[in-house]
């Protein structure tokens, strides 16, 4: 198509025309998150805007933005599993819950010295524990998943999510039961952090994990994931170990969900088993499908959309499920490849205009 464009344009510098339609010569060219000077400017503006948000936005907006950052981490992780590796999980709220409670227990129940608190150790240790514990459970769930596909895998993961929820409700020592578990506000150098600072923490962790996920999927590990998704038999014939990479995908995805759960505990200060029901698993799943399966930016977009939408309608609480359901149906009916797929189509249309 690029060659055609130059031929069509006739005169002028052919190389210049080629650059305009982005001739990609190497496979790696296809995989950059940020492309060209315009892309870098857009990324810088986006990052600056997000970082400056607490300076201008009202308090509830900062809170919503923090939740978007948290859900983006979970959605990105889920997309690595569903969109890239082709394994379904309808139990992700279980991993999120495990991460959140791991964080809560490390931060609230372990007697840290004030000095450790001054260096921010409890929450860093808590986040690491959240990711690690959740990843171990991801490995455990990934093992039966080696043999299961489609509806069978759906039920197995769904059962895992429900089992975690039930254990949390009934094991009161662990979860604080129905009374809930209070997570102390983060402190740094003896001073409790404000909403804006917590938002920045969530934003930085979320952005770092998103970029990391992008690098995972463009590495050989990511190519193995995609090969398994497209045809597991062909992948195995080509030398991709299904055992290794399927369980890796589950572990990575669960680690992301666990880190998201840890951030969730930081943002909310309060954990209760009913924050991690099947409905949450379904919401995370909807985020990545609405945003765009198998795309990292799509996961973030979907997370933002499905986090903001229900909160915006919280004034009409009884209408919320109706609006939410209709929104999902409309997006899926109009654009099967998700919001990000539509965005790519629009971008391509303008880039190749008038062709």
């Amino acid at each position: 198509m690029a060659g055609n464009a130059a031929a069509w344009a006739g005169g002028g510098d052919p190389a210049e025309k080629l650059r305009r339609v982005e001739l990609r010569e190497r496979y790696e060219d296809d995989l950059f998150l940020v492309r060209g000077p315009a892309g870098w400017v857009a990324a810088a503006v986006l990052a600056g805007g997000l970082a400056a948000l607490p300076l201008v936005a009202p308090k509830y907006l900062i809170y919503i933005a923090s939740l978007v950052a948290v859900n983006a981490v979970i959605a990105v992780g889920l997309n690595v599993l569903v969109g890239y590796t082709g394994q379904i999980s309808l139990g992700h709220a279980g991993f999120v819950a495990i991460g959140a409670y791991a964080f809560g227990i490390v931060a609230a129940r372990i007697p840290w010295t004030p000095a450790a608190g001054a260096w921010g150790v409890p929450w860093i240790a808590g986040l690491i524990a959240a990711g690690a514990v959740s990843a171990v459970f991801g490995l455990l769930v990934g093992l039966p998943a080696l043999r299961l596909t489609g509806p069978y895998l759906t039920i197995a993961t769904l059962g895992f999510g429900i089992a975690v929820h039930q254990v949390l409700i009934n094991w009161e020592w662990l979860s604080g039961g129905r009374a809930g578990l209070f997570v102390p506000k983060l402190t740094f150098a003896g001073r409790p952090l404000g909403d804006a600072e917590i938002y920045w923490i969530a934003l930085i962790v979320s952005a770092a994990l998103t970029v990391l996920a992008f690098h995972i999927v463009r590495s050989y590990v990511g190519r193995a994931f995609v090969a398994i998704r497209d045809s597991d038999i062909a992948a195995e014939v080509m030398g991709v170990s299904l055992t290794t990479y399927k369980t890796t995908a589950f572990a990575v995805s669960a680690a992301y969900a666990g880190l998201g759960g840890g951030l969730y505990a930081i943002v909310l200060h309060y954990l209760e088993p009913n924050q991690f029901t099947l409905l949450e698993s379904i919401t995370y799943f909807s985020m990545i499908v609405v945003g765009g399966l198998g795309t990292i930016p799509g996961s973030v977009l979907g997370a933002a959309l499905l986090t903001i939408l229900p909160l915006e309608f919280s004034g009409f609480r009884q209408w919320q499920p109706v609006v939410y359901g209709l929104a999902i149906i409309v997006v899926m009916a109009l654009e099967p490849r998700g919001v990000y797929g539509r965005w790519l189509k629009i971008k391509r249309w303008f880039k190749t205009w008038p062709f």
């Binding site: 039920i155 197995a156 895992f160 429900i162 254990v167 499908v289």
Partner: protein, 292 residues
């Protein structure tokens, strides 16, 4: 021993309902490969319609339930025609997400129309009147709903295995293009399957309503159990769905009776995962083969 038998009887009554729910899910999955997450909420919606016909319009029970089943079936078929069919470019996962959206929509609509407070559906069979069969106590309603369930399962079997419509359904599920080339109206068959499965779900809802309480989330747990039962039995096998449902009901009741009520759902899912590890295609599912 008598206690065990009593638990088994209770489990069979619950399992019969799981089996009805599972049967609807399996019928849909066989023809369209879609896991219908709106199955439970559609069933609740149908039960609410029966409630309105009975209480607000004072219709006799038979007319109210028949009307509710008909309306639910029409809603199911309409969902296929108006939403799922226009979105046929969507991937399978996309379609599953559409049914999730439909489930939320239905649940929200039920809440808006009927409120979240629990309601009692007047039912001709009594929950309190019991029969004693050699030391075992069985309530009138469990016998009634179990028998109705058995009759419906038999009817579904006859429909799928012994009629031309059933033959068309099986043909569409095995090879859509070939079936269409042979002149089978695939669209109507899909719509019929959606309607039939939805009406089956609503039947389960109406039978459950007198035992559970009728509110917008009434069918959530039975739907999950029915879904699990379908997977346990093998998601493309109607006899598997019935066997899975009954088995799940009995295991749950026995575990709840002897060990712990609180962890019975957890146990149910652990058993299903264990069975799936041994037999990834469920108890009676076809052996999982694929052409490379």
């Amino acid at each position: 021993m008598a206690l065990l038998a009593q638990y088994v009887i209770g489990g069979l009554a619950a399992g019969g309902l799981y089996a009805l729910v599972a049967l609807g899910i399996v019928l849909l999955y066989r023809t369209s490969r879609i896991l219908n997450f709106a199955h439970g909420d559609l069933a609740t919606f149908g039960t609410f319609i029966a409630f309105s016909l009975l209480v607000t319009y004072h219709s006799p029970f038979a007319i109210a339930s028949a009307g509710a089943l008909l309306i639910t079936g029409v809603i199911g078929a309409a969902f296929y025609f108006l939403i799922l069919r226009p979105a046929r470019d969507a991937s399978l996962l996309g379609k599953i997400v559409i049914t999730l959206g439909f489930a939320l929509l239905l649940q929200g609509t039920s809440t808006l129309l009927w409120g979240t407070d629990t309601k009692v559906l007047p039912f001709p069979l009594s929950d309190v009147r019991v029969y004693r069969l050699g030391g075992l106590v069985v309530s009138q309603i469990s016998i009634g709903s179990f028998l109705i369930g058995l009759v419906l399962m038999g009817l579904v079997y006859v429909l799928v295995q012994r009629t031309k419509v059933g033959l068309a359904m099986r043909a569409v599920s095995q090879n859509l293009v070939a079936a269409q080339a042979l002149g089978i109206p695939a669209k109507s068959i899909f719509a019929l399957t959606w309607g039939l499965a939805s009406a089956l779900g609503a039947t389960a809802g109406i039978l459950l309503a007198p035992v559970a309480l009728l509110d917008p989330s009434m069918m959530l747990d039975p739907f999950l159990k029915g879904f699990s039962a379908a997977v346990l039995g093998g998601i493309d096998s109607p006899p598997g769905a019935v066997a899975g449902g009954l088995l799940l009901g009995v295991i749950e009741a026995v575990f709840a009776g002897y060990v712990s009520v609180r962890f019975k759902t957890t146990l149910a899912f652990l058993i299903i995962i264990a069975v799936l590890i041994v037999r990834p295609e469920g108890m009676l599912g076809r052996e999982y083969k694929r052409r490379v």
